[in-house]
């Protein structure tokens, strides 16, 4: 369904705590950059991914307010709120609008403003993406679920916690050269092991730092010989909800299925990917994602990371701009950051984060602790 769509413009803001800018401002900034990059006229539709603006007491119906602020009205607008999978889902919706023939050019913007909320309030709002009645209201959050998953992963596979260092290490190695990243330094093992515990065995270094950020793309129907990066395949899979399955079974069926469907549509294999952007909101989901898309056998993600498979010059470069762990996690925008970063690499415009001769990329974001997964193949 997604074939025949190209990405004619991209833009993003630095991931940071932007005290001086509001949610709408950062969305406008990223959208403006994408419009300039595309040198295109006004889009016929605007799709905005924002997970928590309403819950955090900020702007609701952000797509309308963004379109108004950009001066591109009258226009058709939609908001997409699918937890951390909002960005991927928004791209998918934009593809559907174009493929159906309803629209020619669609602006997709992901934006999130987390720094206005106190950390415990933000954690409460992030928890509301889980089962509100059985998980969030009993004190469970994505971070606590990540800690339980991590402990189960160590128990079942008989591993040492220190092995999880290699997940954070890859992200920091790549984020160190990304001027838009919030954490721009390589992480050494001693620092990792000293990191304060949030919930045993998970430490601060095993979670992505929440931040403010926005990223945008402009999509249109592919034109022959345009030279733009294309969306070769896509899939959005929702499965039975709940934190129990990933924790007890150590698998993410939605991530596996969504990746397989998107790869099938693109007519490629995961081994054909020059780079991948997976959902590393915490180290547990990062490890399961690596295994879900087929980069490692069950229980071996950490070993493959330690082997260097996921470095820029490794077999399967991962988190090429630092991932959520080092670039920063702006939940509703996270899926758009992945797409923009992959496009920069595929265009050869990634500067110090460039993967040599990159031709194809897989990007995948997860919502509600992996119950939802959206994957796109770009090339």
């Amino acid at each position: 369904m997604t074939t025949g769509i190209e990405i004619i413009g991209v833009g993003l803001t630095k991931s940071a705590e932007k005290w001086e800018m509001g949610l709408l401002d950062i969305a406008i900034r990223a959208a403006g950059k994408a419009l300039e990059d595309a040198q295109s006229e006004s889009p016929d539709a605007v799709v905005v991914a924002n997970a928590f603006g309403g819950a955090l007491g900020d702007q609701q119906n952000l797509a309308l307010h963004l379109a108004s602020g950009l001066g591109c009205c009258p226009v058709e607008t939609y908001c997409v709120a699918c937890d951390d999978a909002s960005g991927g889902a928004a791209v998918r919706l934009a593809c559907a609008l174009i493929s159906s023939g309803m629209h020619q050019t669609v602006l997709v913007v992901g934006a999130e403003k987390t720094s206005d909320a106190l950390p415990d309030m933000l954690e409460t709002v992030r928890a509301s993406g889980l089962d509100a009645g059985r998980e969030a209201s009993f004190g469970f959050s994505p971070t606590i679920a990540g800690a339980l998953g991590m402990q189960q992963y160590l128990n079942v596979y008989g591993l040492d916690k220190a092995l999880f260092f290699h997940i954070a290490k890859v992200a920091h190695e790549h984020g160190a050269t990304n001027r838009n990243a919030i954490f721009r330094w390589p992480l050494d093992e001693a620092q990792y092991l000293k990191s304060p515990i949030v919930a045993t065995p998970l430490s601060v270094c095993d979670t992505a730092p929440p931040c403010d950020g926005a990223a945008a793309v402009i999509l249109r129907k592919s034109k022959n010989g345009s030279g733009h990066i294309r969306i070769l395949g896509g899939a959005n899979v929702s499965r039975k909800r709940g934190i129990v399955h990933p924790i007890t079974e150590l698998t993410l069926p939605a991530a596996t299925e969504s990746a397989a469907m998107a790869l099938k549509e693109a007519g490629c294999d995961v081994a054909d990917m020059s780079l991948l952007e997976l959902h590393d909101s915490n180290a547990f989901l990062a490890a399961l994602s690596i295994e879900a898309v087929g980069l490692a056998k069950p229980g071996e993600a950490l070993h493959r990371a330690a082997d260097g498979d996921f470095s820029k010059d490794g077999k399967a470069p991962l988190w090429t701009f630092g991932g959520h762990k080092s670039r920063g996690l702006a939940p509703g925008a996270s899926g758009l950051y992945q797409v923009v970063e992959a496009v920069l690499n595929l265009r050869g415009d990634a500067q110090r984060n460039q993967v040599p001769s990159a031709t194809k990329a897989l990007v995948q974001c997860l919502g509600s602790f992996g119950a939802q997964a959206v994957t796109h193949i770009l090339g």
């Binding site: 009993f138 339980l148 515990i197």
Partner: protein
């Protein structure tokens, strides 16, 4: 947690009431109004035993809002005798003494309070099984 919501959840939160589908026999907790397996809308109320064991546990040092009073506390996945998994806090034991396979039973405890004046939520936690 508004008062009506707390009241609505009393059967599950205080009595571990679930539903058993009259057509396909599927047991669900909390109670459902439509069977996720067969679509049936008729159920028998089914009270779970409240006995089970710890599958995996964590000690939480940084909690979400309204749960800070418990820190540090033990949070776990508990598998009930009926095969249902629940995410719940473990109580009446030091968090570091909670272990995989530990036999536990349901107890009613204070879960959270909304600030100084908000309603207090009482619901299930799990404690070490006293009389096996």
């Amino acid at each position: 947690m508004q008062i009506a919501k707390s009241w609505r959840q009393q059967p599950s939160n205080l009595r571990l009431e679930g539903t058993r589908c009259t057509r396909c026999d599927r047991l669900e907790f909390p109670a459902v109004i439509r069977c996720s397996a067969c679509g049936c809308t008729e159920f028998e109320i089914c009270q779970l035993s409240g006995k089970g064991e710890v599958v995996v546990a964590t000690t939480v040092f940084e909690a979400a809002r309204d749960f800070g009073e418990h820190v540090p506390y033990s949070a776990a996945i508990v598998k009930l005798a009926e095969g249902i998994h629940l995410a719940a806090m473990i109580t009446d034991v030091e968090p570091r003494d909670v272990y995989v396979g530990m036999k536990v039973e349901m107890v009613t405890r204070r879960i959270a309070a909304q600030g100084d004046k908000g309603p207090i939520l009482y619901a299930y936690k799990f404690a070490p099984l006293l009389m096996p």
